[in-house]
Structures are given as C-alpha cells and as structure tokens.
C-alpha cells in the first residue's frame, strides 16, 4: 500500500489518491458520517423555520414575502453553484497530479464563496434596518438560525480551504494532503446541497406566500 511519505510523479500517482492509504479511507468514511449528522442538524433547523415562518407578534413586523428579494437570492445562488463546479475542477486537477492548477481552482472557489458571504452580510444588515432581527420575532430567530448556520458553514469552509492552500503551498501533492483537499471539497459541495434547499424552501416559497 502506498504511504503518506512517498514521493510521486504523475506516472506513479494512484487513480484514487483520496482513498489510497488507510488514514485516507478512515478520513473518507468519518467525513461522510459527519455529513450524515450535518443533515440531521440542518433538517432540524429547516423544521423549526417551517413551523415558525411568519410567526410575528403584530402586523408592524415584516413577513417573508415583504423581505425576500429575488435578484439577491438569484445572484447568491449562481455564485455558490458555480463555486461548487470550480471545486470539482480543483479535484480533477488533483487526480491528474497538477498541484498548481488545483490551487488556482481552489482560489477561484474561495473568491466565489467570499462573494456569496458578502451578499449574505449585505442582506442581513438590510433586514435589520427593516426591523427583522434575531430577537424581533420567532420568525426572525428561526430565519437567522437556519440561514446564519449555513452562512457560518460557508465562512468555516472558506477558512478551511484557505488554510489547506497556504499550509501546503510549498509541499505539493502527496498522499498526506490529497485526502484533506478531497474532504474539504466534499464539505463545500454539502454546503451547496443545503443552499439548494434554502433558496427553494426559504426564499422561493417565501416569495410565493
């Protein structure tokens, strides 16, 4: 079995580097187990949001259909969906043992993710000005818990991918770090999976009424 300290060339690089060592296999399984737990976490937050949607103390509080903007949600969705594809490109170059290109695509992924986060911060500050805050209503608490938790995941994912890029900048690719990059890209796709349900269940269904 290949070992983490082995040096590789593109000829000797294994076809599935993310599962080529025992540690990598354990990481792979452990991470999917974690994603199963994350599914439960977001399921509970979605359930809470659906139960508390538009539950406000009086009519002076804005409701979902007064708040959400289609243009902003659409822009955020396109940014995050595209960043999912760019991280697929990064893993494509990882499998081809092309470290520089992998780093370049990861950087594009990070930039798109940061733009998404910027839009979300703008959106939240706009809502706060309209009187929709975490403590203003049950609806506000449920909304910021769900969407904020997702935004927190995006922020964590950005820091994670950036740390991997910086820490391994001089090391190049080997079986020590290839599984780390792979698992981080799985996390990034999972964030996108959650966003697909957020833009559908929270924003689009909120606009429909």
């Amino acid at each position: 079995m290949a070992a983490v300290q082995d040096k590789f060339t593109e000829m000797t690089w294994p076809s599935s580097p993310e599962k080529a060592t025992l540690e990598a296999k354990n990481k792979f399984l452990g991470f999917w187990f974690f994603l199963g737990g994350e599914t439960v976490l977001f399921g509970s937050l979605f359930a809470t949001y659906l139960a508390l949607k538009d539950k406000v103390p009086d009519s002076s509080h804005p409701l979902a259909k007064d708040l959400y903007s289609m243009e902003l949600t659409f822009a955020a969705t396109m940014l995050l969906l595209t960043s999912s594809l760019t991280s697929v490109y990064a893993m494509y170059h990882m499998k081809n043992f092309n470290f520089q290109r992998m780093q370049a695509w990861l950087l594009i992924t990070v930039l798109l993710g940061a733009a998404f986060l910027g839009l979300e911060i703008y959106e939240f500050s706009h809502y706060v000005h309209e009187g929709h805050t975490f403590t203003s209503s049950a609806f506000g608490s449920a909304f910021y818990s769900l969407v904020g938790f997702h935004g927190g995941h995006v922020a964590f994912g950005l820091l994670w991918i950036l740390s991997l890029m910086v820490r391994n900048a001089k090391r190049g690719l080997d079986l020590y770090n290839a599984p780390k990059f792979y698992v981080a890209s799985l996390y990034w796709h999972f964030i996108d999976v959650v966003w697909v349900f957020i833009f559908t269940v929270v924003y689009l269904m909120g606009m429909v009424g």
Partner: protein, 111 residues
Amino acid sequence: MENLRPNSANPKADLIYRRKKNAEEMRYQVVSFALMIFLTLIAFAAVHFDGFSHWFVAPFIMLLAVVQVIFQLYYFMHMSHKGHETPQLFLFSGLAVALITVLTFVTITWI
C-alpha cells in the same frame, strides 16, 4: 480495489488511459452543472411568473430542488462511484431522521 492495483507494466499507457478517463468524467460533471443551472432557472422563473397557483409552484420547485441535489450528491460528490455504500448508509440515515423531523414540525406542532 482499484486504487490498490499496482500501476500497469506500461506506466505511460496507464497514464494516458487515466487522463482520458478523468477528462471524460469532467465532461459529465460540466453537463450535470449545466442541468443544475437549468433547474435553478426554471425554479426562479416559476416563482417570478405570477400566473401559477401556490399549490402548484411549491411542490414543483421542491421537486426541482430534489433532482438538483441528486445531481450534486451523485456526480459532484461522486456518490455514484463504487466504494460509496457506507457513505450512502450514513447520508440516507441522516436524511431519514431529518425528514421525520420536518414532517413532525409541519404537521403536529402548533404555535
């Protein structure tokens, strides 16, 4: 398992083969991305166009979201590849708990 198989006696041919296979897979990934964007556009358009009833639009865009997530899981996250039986068990177990939680909160809670 595939990744434990030593590289073939002809490493050059092996490399060319794997490059080709990776490039082919990348093409499928781009196709699934295009489909995901397409599904997203339909969902936004269905909401933007005022003519449809709420009772049609809500389940319709939910269906589009589920299809899009299947693409994301099975292509982008490689769940269609072999060796993903345990990840499927983990993910679908989590999903079962999540769906029961959502079902409970939208049916038998009242505030």
